[in-house]
Symmetry: C2
């Protein structure tokens, strides 16, 4: 009997994660939780809807004692910084409520908790290569909330209440759905929008380099974390995930290669770039995660374009 819970199951990552787990078909029970349920369902799939910062909602979910709990509820960096209180509520309070619900469940219940953290825990100034000795110093509320979540999960793990692991996910591209503004959303916009025939604002210079992975890679990494044998080692409780270091220029070349040069005319450069190379972390060593076998499904820039097209035509 294997049971899994996903907190944030209606979000971008949570939805793909749920679909992937159902498609694999190795689960007896899948508990999905979010403010609103989605169309995902089937045998052994149960929804617990409500605010994940509410102890009653999460207490109910944790009461089923799933073997693995994925916490992928989050609001993106843009909203966390503009909608200050909501950012703390979604990105931190839901984590704290989850770990506390697990603790008070008692009964020797000690699930694997897999948390979607972010490379956003690192702040400027960024060295060219960020290795594992680097000290996370967030320069955003989003990154702060993720760092606080990592800290409280590590403490609850040290106390033996849960077996936690936090994946510092790369920036996800191509995010499905609408274009998002602010921060790293443009890495998705400049691929998705032209491929859909729409214009995309490019607020960065072409030499901006960043650490990217697809939604499918993020989901594969989360599932890998759930399947690690034995207890997570203390030094592996927060890990930068493998990604690819790509410039805007290389991404746009890949877009032209797959979609034709014409698509580049949909890139809107009418406003002077507000982001330069110093504004994003360019590259991470991700040494421990590689050693632990965390997957990365992309090898080069065109894979991001192909991945988006594959899912667009599937959807």
């Amino acid at each position: 009997m294997v049971s899994v819970a996903i907190i944030g199951a209606s979000g971008m990552i949570g939805r793909t994660l749920a679909q992937t787990l159902i498609a694999r078909g190795r689960l007896d029970e899948l508990f999905l939780s979010d403010i609103r349920s989605s169309d995902i369902g089937g045998d052994g799939v149960h929804w617990v809807t409500g605010d994940a910062a509410d102890p009653e909602t999460i207490g109910l979910l944790v009461g089923f004692e799933p073997d693995v709990i994925f916490h992928v509820a989050a609001t993106a960096m843009g909203q966390a910084d503009s909608d200050f209180a909501i950012g703390y509520h979604i990105n931190f309070d839901t984590v704290r409520t989850t770990v506390e619900a697990i603790r008070i469940a008692g009964n020797n219940y000690c699930p694997r908790l897999v948390h979607a953290s972010s490379i956003g825990v690192y702040g400027a100034p960024f060295p060219a290569l960020i290795d594992e000795a680097a000290r996370p110093r967030p320069d955003s509320s989003y990154g702060t909330q993720k760092l606080m979540s990592e800290a409280i999960i590590a403490d609850y793990a040290r106390m033996g209440f849960l077996d936690g692991i936090c994946l510092r996910l790369p920036t996800i591209a191509v995010r499905p759905g609408q274009a998002t503004h602010g921060n790293s959303g443009f890495f998705s916009n400049i691929i998705r929008e032209p491929l859909e025939g729409r214009r995309a604002l490019l607020p960065a210079s072409d030499d901006v380099r960043h650490w990217l992975a697809s939604p499918e890679t993020a989901v594969a990494q989360l599932i890998h974390a759930a399947n690690i044998d034995g207890r997570i080692a203390p030094e592996a409780r927060a890990l930068v995930m493998p990604g690819i270091s790509l410039t805007v220029e290389v991404l746009l070349s890949a877009l032209a290669e797959r979609g034709g040069e014409d698509l580049l005319s949909l890139i809107d450069r009418s406003q002077p770039p507000i982001y330069g190379p110093q504004d994003f972390p360019a590259c991470f060593s991700a040494k421990t995660a590689r050693k632990m076998g965390f997957p990365l499904l992309e090898e080069k820039a065109v894979d991001f374009i192909d991945g988006f097209l594959r899912h667009r035509f599937k959807a």
Copy 2:
């Protein structure tokens, strides 16, 4: 008109801080807050009693818009780790309630917030010298709570809601009052108890080396932080404070030097030591804090004995 608030004013540090500020006589208003008021009072001294994690209590305090708020409410490492929920409540929730009360006060109110953090944010394994590039990785709930508090204060400061600074205070010796058990309490016990004619359990080997400062030094450092001109630089928002690196052996020699060799017979070595040198951080560079002029009132081990005796006879 200068006004100051102390959250945790009935605690070990808060009490001495309040007395010191009153004795200096440069304040117009002093707002003291704790669960229970103490005998400290006088012209311009106001008590706001209540739980510092309660938004109403702290909202009332912050409503007076003090220029400086000292947050020195804490429970020691021993209790934070044994009384799990209380540790988070006192060491983290009170900080979050404070920063949030300041934020929602709005009105361009942006006080200097001086928070008593701790070298407990660093966890084992400890290098011989901990410099400022070292990454804090707590190995206690207490240290986790302090690190989370530092993170949220830095974020609220970055957003311009407050001007925060967190002092990673050395272990305080000699703590007044009763002997405390667990963790670093013995550094105080082995001085205080023999000087009071009582036996003191020594749970550590003689070669254990640790980073110490007196309560008077901690208070002087907090006051120094309140008086720094201009806004605190982002890289100075969490600073290890100057202290002295001393071994148990050297402390006991100093005790014998001041109180006589006989006192050493009150050191109880009947149980095998549970702490060795690897269990405590031995020495910090504290470079930035030294450069910024943070004071240290002790020069050698006997100063800790003399400081205790001076205050015992004063009290």
